[in-house]
């Protein structure tokens, strides 16, 4: 389910979380004033041109020099008053969203990569630390703090329905926060140009009821299930050989960190930063040729036999 407007998941004129909801009225007010001003001035131009339009030829027309400086005085005066009001409103809103109304429940460390999002959850017990990708769960109703680091380029972290953008910049760690009011999935997307696959660098914030969130968190912290049947076991071997230098699967020997952690890959709704749905078919398609789906992606097309492909897919399908 996509909250709050399934047909336009990236719209933000009516926000859902605390931050977005503080911004919405300002945004709506600014747009209303913008429309009003544009309409008034356009009307003045059209009516002015029509009302006075001259039927005379250019040269015969009398040249009038009626003073009209009052127009400028009144126009600029009214504009100034409106602008000063807007500055106050804007500053107040900015102060409101600079921090959440209550202290953040916990922190999620985000690392932006070309072209996917790594999310690391830490807790007092280091056994419970884990890292996942592109699908970030938070509890409903509690503000969550995000630290934003980049593994390579500048990206921007943005979940429109919940709040504004914060750039992710190499060499510095920016901080932001989000709070969701309703359970559901909120679509986010990288919004700073970052090269070939900037278009496919989406993610989802999934807001769960607190209990569901806790069980999700506990499940993610667990290592992967041991492969059981023959295909999956063969697949694990293929994985160790071909994929493990880039991908980690906790509980196995695979501990690469150039691509997303795949320990619980099948718990995610989509693959490759939102590019495709996650199911057996798309999973095969991705492994077979990531470059077709995301040209330029940092996962290369690997020369796998049909058999290897099927086995490795079966193995991944067990990683719930």
């Amino acid at each position: 389910m996509l909250a709050p407007w399934p047909a336009t998941p990236m719209a933000y004129l009516f926000g859902d979380g605390d931050m977005a909801r503080s911004i919405s009225p300002l945004l709506q007010g600014l747009l209303a004033i913008a429309i009003l001003v544009a309409a008034i001035v356009s009307a003045l131009v059209i009516v002015g041109a029509w009302r006075q339009r001259s039927a005379l030829a250019l040269a015969d027309t009398p040249i009038d020099d009626r003073p009209a400086i009052a127009w400028i005085g009144i126009g600029v005066g009214v504009s100034t008053a409106v602008l000063v009001g807007l500055i106050v409103w804007s500053t107040v809103t900015m102060a409101t969203i600079s921090r959440p109304s209550q202290t953040a429940a916990f922190t999620i460390a985000i690392t932006a990569h070309r072209w996917w999002w790594e999310a690391t959850y830490r807790s007092g017990d280091t056994d419970q630390n884990f890292s996942t990708a592109n699908e970030i769960h938070i509890p409903v109703g509690a503000p969550v703090r995000f630290t934003l680091a980049s593994a390579d380029l500048i990206h921007s972290f943005w979940v429109p329905a919940l709040g504004g953008k914060t750039d992710v910049i190499p060499g510095q760690t920016n901080v932001t926060w989000l709070k969701a009011d309703h359970a559901g999935s909120y679509r986010g997307q990288c919004s700073e140009y970052c090269g070939a696959q900037h278009a496919h660098m989406a993610f989802t914030i999934v807001a769960d009821p607190p209990a569901a969130f806790e069980s999700w968190r506990a499940a993610q912290a667990k290592p992967a299930a041991i492969a059981q049947d023959k295909g999956a076991l063969d697949g694990e071997a293929v994985f160790q050989q071909r994929c493990s230098k880039c991908h980690a699967i906790r509980g196995s020997r695979a501990d690469g960190d150039r691509g997303p952690d795949l320990t619980h890959i099948m718990s995610r709704a989509r693959l490759a930063a939102g590019a495709i749905p996650n199911n057996a078919g798309w999973l095969s398609a991705w492994i077979a040729d990531p470059q077709h789906i995301k040209p330029g992606s940092l996962m290369p097309k690997l020369p796998l036999s049909g058999r290897e492909l099927a086995d490795v897919r079966d193995y991944l399908l067990t990683l719930k």
Partner: protein
């Protein structure tokens, strides 16, 4: 020559009784024939037209790039171009429109018009003027050569690091851009110097500083702005090139560099640049709209003050491109406030135009339609900009299509609409021929409707959350319809632009003669022939008011202006220098003959830059040496150009 030759005062003559004067001037100012004559010409009129034509060609090329992008975005998951191709397209499109079209086209109008509206024989530095055009052309070709070798810039016109660094962008793409921008910066800089000095010292006697057309205020203001802003971007691109080629660490975070340094240096230049590409266009409208409203512009002084204030404040708002970079909110508050405040001086001009229309007697010509369209597009672009000045709102709006809509309302609305209108106004002066009015009005409506259908929906696309610079988008996020509408609009707009080009080409062949002053306009350029003679004015006119050609009909002013009476300067290629404020005649300037030096120096520089691009250091060195030699020859003192006699011993 003797001292007295320099100290002589020009005679005041009446053309009626000095018929031979014109013949002398024709001989003195005659251009050299043929292609060679074209290359060596330093005539501001020829250079101005070249600027306009070249900029228009770049506009068409940039438009073509835009069309490919619009087709790629017409539907979700389209595969018309590859991601890399798309990225090069949008980068080139921005670079072309912003750097190779928007300012050069205005420089073209300013070059053409400055001496004519100021009553001068040429720009202050005619050879420098030719040089600035050649360098513009050469750097444009240099930038586009990247396309031919398949390595066009691919990091947007804003060119953020680290993506622009070698680690992520190993090809020559960024080197083309970096060196091309440094190269182009030379053109902008020398052009700016020329405008400033021409404005201050080449005005006709009596044209005090409060009697000049608004265009010259606009262009002079932005030229001063350029002299302050261009060094920042040239430096930025130079540091980038050093990082890329010699492993320096200005921008590399891993080695202690600062990616945000790029953004500061870039926007310190690029935000003022926004005003640079609109203030002269606003000047064109401020000057020409009154022709069709049959009254002088309302609030001349206020508009001038507004122009200058806008430029000054324009230097204090660059951080509003960086609201999301994690800079502390208190610092943002200052820049946010400034971004709101800058609307005030810009709004002066808007109310002035509205008042001019409202209290005038508008004659609805094609040019008038473009100017009227310009005013409402200006306001739409302005108010959507105000929305992005609010930090909190901007955190949502920035980097979405809302900003794409905003900037096109600003750039197309304020620059292109003004230019399309201005060409209608001054084409008769440039060519002596009229452009077709009824076809012109039809074209206007196609352009106007196409533009709004293409770009208005982008506000909504942005509010629906579509980020900029994505080569495709998924189905099912609500962006399909708006994108399709924008693509349809862009096809209409492109049709309109093509029609406009056809109308202009047709106009060149038109047999309808324009006459000296087809619009019964008020400023000096309409007091000479259409097209003007090479020397612009047979006698240097004496100016007694802001509207020389309307004097007899405006209340409260006697008709002092005499078209045929003025200072005779026909003893050599000469022009008159006047004082900066009062425009009191000050010196007779010896103007240079046509020369190949600017062209040759440009060629030498092109060789140097090409060498630097290809790491052929010997070639770069040879180019630099040749440029230095060329400049030496160019500047070698010539007795005929001396402005002062040797003191007698």
């Amino acid at each position: 020559m003797t001292t007295t030759d320099y100290d002589r005062a020009p005679r005041l003559v009446d053309l009626g009784s000095h018929g031979s004067l014109v013949g002398n001037l024709e001989d003195i100012w005659a251009p050299k024939p043929g292609l060679y004559g074209w290359i060596v010409s330093v005539d501001h009129k020829s250079i101005g037209i070249r600027y306009i034509v070249t900029a228009f060609i770049f506009l068409l090329v940039g438009g073509l790039e835009a069309m490919v992008m619009r087709f790629q975005l017409a539907r979700p998951n389209e595969r018309l171009v590859t991601p890399e191709q798309y990225n090069e397209l949008f980068s080139l499109h921005g670079i072309t429109m912003i750097f190779l079209y928007a300012l050069p086209v205005l420089s073209g109008f300013s070059n053409y018009l400055f001496p004519l509206v100021l009553g001068a024989r040429d720009m202050a530095f005619p050879r420098l003027n030719a040089f600035s055009y050649w360098v513009y052309l050469a750097s444009g070709i240099f930038l586009y050569a990247s396309l031919l070798v398949g390595a066009a810039p691919n990091d947007g016109w804003f060119n953020y690091v680290p993506y622009a660094l070698r680690a992520y962008n190993p090809g020559p793409n960024m080197d083309f851009y970096a060196l091309g921008m440094i190269f182009l910066g030379i053109s902008t800089t020398v052009g700016s110097v020329n405008f400033v000095v021409t404005f201050l010292r080449m005005r006709a006697p009596g044209m005090t500083i409060d009697r000049v057309p608004i265009l010259t205020w606009g262009t002079t203001t932005i030229s001063v702005g350029n002299l302050l802003a261009v060094p920042s971007v040239s430096l930025a691109f130079f540091l980038l090139w050093m990082d890329r080629q010699f492993g320096t660490h200005f921008f590399r975070a891993e080695t202690g560099g600062q990616p945000l340094l790029w953004q500061h240096l870039f926007w310190m230049f690029a935000h003022p640049w926004v005003y640079v590409v609109v203030l002269p266009a606003m000047g064109l409208v401020s000057d020409a709209l009154p022709f069709y409203c049959r009254r002088p512009l309302v609030g001349y002084t206020a508009v001038v003050v507004g122009t200058i204030t806008t430029m000054v404040l324009g230097f204090g708002v660059w951080l509003h491109h960086m609201f999301a970079t994690g800079i502390p909110f208190m610092a943002l508050a200052f820049f946010s406030g400034a971004s709101f405040i800058i609307t005030i001086p810009s709004s002066i001009a808007v109310f002035s135009w509205v008042a001019t229309i409202w209290t005038g007697r508008p004659v609805i010509t094609t040019a008038f339609l473009y100017f009227a369209g310009f005013i409402s597009m200006f306001v739409i672009g302005g108010v959507s900009g105000v929305a992005t000045a609010a930090v909190a709102a901007d955190l949502q709006l920035t980097d979405t299509y809302f900003v794409v809509a905003h900037l096109h309302y600003v750039l197309i609305g304020i620059n292109l609409f003004a230019v399309l209108g201005a060409l209608y106004v001054w084409f008769p002066k440039m060519t002596g021929r009229m452009l077709d009015e009824s076809l012109g009005k039809l074209t206007f409506w196609i352009v106007f409707i196409g533009f709004n259908v293409a770009f208005f929906p982008m506000h909504i696309t942005g509010l629906l959350g579509m980020p900029r610079r994505i080569y495709t988008y998924p189905d099912g996020v609500g962006w399909n319809a708006v994108n399709m509408i924008s693509t349809i609009g862009s096809v209409i707009l492109a049709t309109g632009i093509l029609l406009y080009v056809i109308v202009v080409l047709k106009g060149l062949r038109s047999t309808e003669r324009a006459g000296d002053n087809p619009w019964d306009a008020s400023s000096l350029e309409w007091a000479t022939l259409s097209p003007p003679p090479h020397y612009n004015f047979a006698v240097i006119p004496y100016v007694t008011s802001r509207h020389p050609l309307w004097e007899s009909r405006l209340p409260g002013q006697g008709a002092m202006f005499r078209r045929d009476e003025g200072l005779a300067l026909a003893d050599g290629k000469e022009a008159l220098a006047t004082t900066a404020i009062e425009a009191i005649p000050d010196a007779i300037l010896k103007m240079p003959e046509d020369t190949a030096a600017p062209f040759i120096v440009t060629l030498a520089m092109s060789i140097g830059f090409t060498g630097a691009l290809m790491h052929l250091w010997w070639l770069a060195g040879a180019g630099a040496l040749a440029s230095a030699l060329g400049i030496l020859v160019w500047l070698w003192p010539e007795a005929e150009l001396a402005q002062r006699a040797e003191e007698p011993q």
